[in-house]
Symmetry: C2
Subunit: 392 residues, 2 copies
């Protein structure tokens, strides 16, 4: 049977056709009025998409580049930082901060869970310069409570405004509500290959005033990721270094699409995109549970993706392989030491009803063959349909 | 919810991404060595795809253009021709033949059925110059028995070799087995926007020696569709008039894809494409019947598409509208006087498992809402999955 290339991975995600066309046809030089107009428009639209009054930057790098920038621009060697970690991306924050010579405190939650707010409160102290966290931890499918943690950072110590909150929302933006300014998030980070439906290569983010001030004294080395330099260039609708021009053209097309989803209003479109991910996720969770499988993150599941525990005695590597070989569907395995234990189905960005029931129907065959036990065909699909029908 | 543009129509069909890329990037002039090389390659590949030793032509027109060519090049005004008609495309043959002044005999089957071979035999006579038919009638979802009818034309009268058999296989090629040369089909016609997965704009076909001979005496007027002129040009790897160049680039990419489906063998790839359509169709028929719906062409269903009778009291126009509005899925209504009575789901070309179960799951919602009667969610999907699991 024909197998279309179908990404169900939490980034890269399925490409928006209008963005593909825009990328294929874009060829302007970056030091021209044409590109400056495109760049200015993208910055304004990203600002509206994030929903912030803060300055917005788009870097030509993956999301990890913006994560690094949030360490190198905001810390000095020896600074104490607090990393909230509950998965591979939380661990990345810790590695990054260590690489720049920070003294790293952590609040850790087991894989598949979110943090104890009480523990976060206890770890916050006047000497913590930055708190680093994820909005959604894509390695485990968990949604963290950014609003609550921001409130703790803001109120639980008299150290505020010295402690900055940096949120990696690379899979969070466009899949979960984030009132960045209201909650007092100092830096928020997104990536192009997630809810914005284009390939990897751009990272975007919003940076608040207190973070800009910190940069004046932060001494960690940075050059390509020097955010003050980017800000100065952006004020002239330019980038400091050569930007990934075609990806900007794609991003503009994707933001137009999101605006159309909101009938001309980009913020409404973003909310519709979030609602889409929430519905795909709710359908998928229902389907997975109807199949007798266990969610890997049952208590705080993200809408970005659904992580599913491999059934007893089955390696999730085999499940991912069956998905790919039999259906052309690329489902993500667990990462690092979680490899083999779970698989992950994404709902970030450009997914619709047919994608969602399709991957569940495929999952029924995959589980039947991987476990060797009978599966009632249609049971996962039906559960998903019941969720869908209720919302309709 | 996001609604992707999803064509389930029996042409145009979903586009092959590799063909889209090839079309977007192709810009050669048509009177160059570059285009001649592309054109020669496409002709050779189309020949292998059809599976014929006859000369192959590709015209820059829709399939109807090649149908017209098969009338204007093979008949003279006043010629008696026999049209086998069981739907809107059979009726098109009759209209075309009349437009060129032929005296048209018909064998008619009711919509949803195929011809009585006995009646075909009775209507064949020494004075019939051409027999025109479809391989699959896309307006009703019926597969006609080309092999049997070819045999009748070949053996049932002593008029052979004077009676030519012309088969519109526009939706037939790549969805049903057609041993053109063995069966003695004089002209067979295909279209680009069907099993070959590119947009409309090219028609292709194979023309046997007896048809070429007929053209020497046929007096109907033709110019753009003068096949002898095209044949002469093709011998020099050229087209008589300006060809739709980017579509040729797309066709080349699509034929490469089919060859890959056959592990390097184009004929094997075509057979795999046919098997794909057969499986999608079998899954869809099982799903439709599990939902309690009636097939419009139960006795001789084509693999190209499944035509489904609208349930009692429901206009199929409303069904098509729900598909489009709610799921972004474009399903075809009945044509002309069949409008409102049936809807059609295609399996031609680039469809996979997820497409097939996805449209069936959507159909369950559509039928539940259109009829107002309860539907057991998952029942159509399950029936399709059972068909799939048996083949695996």
């Amino acid at each position: 049977m024909i197998k279309k290339n179908r990404l169900f991975t939490p980034g890269p995600t399925p490409l928006l056709p209008a963005a593909q066309t825009a990328m294929a046809s874009y060829g302007a030089h970056h030091r021209t009025a044409d590109f400056r107009a495109l760049f200015a428009r993208v910055l304004a639209d990203v600002k509206e998409f994030i929903g912030t009054k803060n300055d917005v930057l788009v870097l030509s790098s993956s999301g990890t580049g913006f994560m690094e920038a949030s360490v190198s621009n905001l810390t000095s060697p020896g600074d104490r930082v607090l990393v909230l970690t509950a998965g591979k991306f939380g661990e990345r924050w810790a590695s990054l901060a260590k690489a720049f010579g920070c003294s790293v405190e952590t609040v850790t939650a087991p894989y598949g869970e979110t943090f104890s707010l009480e523990e976060v409160r206890r770890k916050l102290s006047p000497t913590i310069r930055c708190v680093y966290m994820q909005a959604t931890e894509s390695s485990t499918g968990v949604r963290h409570d950014v609003e609550r943690i921001a409130e703790l950072v803001r109120t639980s110590s008299d150290t505020r405004p010295d402690t900055l909150l940096v949120v990696d929302a690379i899979t969070g933006l466009g899949t979960t509500r984030l009132d960045v300014d209201d909650w007092g998030v100092d830096v928020i980070i997104g990536g192009s290959q997630k809810a914005l439906m284009i390939p990897p290569g751009l990272a975007y983010g919003a940076i608040g005033e207190r973070a800009w001030q910190r940069m004046e004294t932060a001494k960690s080395p940075r050059y390509y990721f020097d955010l003050r330099k980017e800000r100065k260039s952006a004020a002239k609708a330019e980038t400091a270094y050569t930007p990934a021009t075609s990806l900007f053209a794609g991003l503009a097309a994707a933001l137009d699409y999101v605006r159309q989803m909101g009938d001309g209003n980009l913020a409404a479109g973003r909310d519709a995109l979030i609602a889409n991910a929430e519905l795909c996720a709710a359908m998928t969770r229902a389907g997975v549970e109807a199949l007798g499988l266990k969610l890997f993150a049952p208590s705080s599941p993200a809408a970005a993706l659904t992580a599913v525990a491999a059934p007893a005695g089955v390696d999730s590597t085999a499940i991912c392989k069956r998905f790919r070989d039999q259906f052309g569907a690329v489902v993500a395995n667990g990462q690092a030491e979680m490899k083999g234990q779970l698989f992950r189905i994404a709902h970030i960005g450009y997914y619709d009803y047919l994608d969602t029931v399709g991957v569940l129907a495929a999952l029924e065959h995959v589980i039947a063959e991987a476990t060797g036990r009978p599966v009632e065909f249609g049971c996962a699909v039906r559960a998903a349909q019941q969720v869908y029908a209720k919302v309709r």
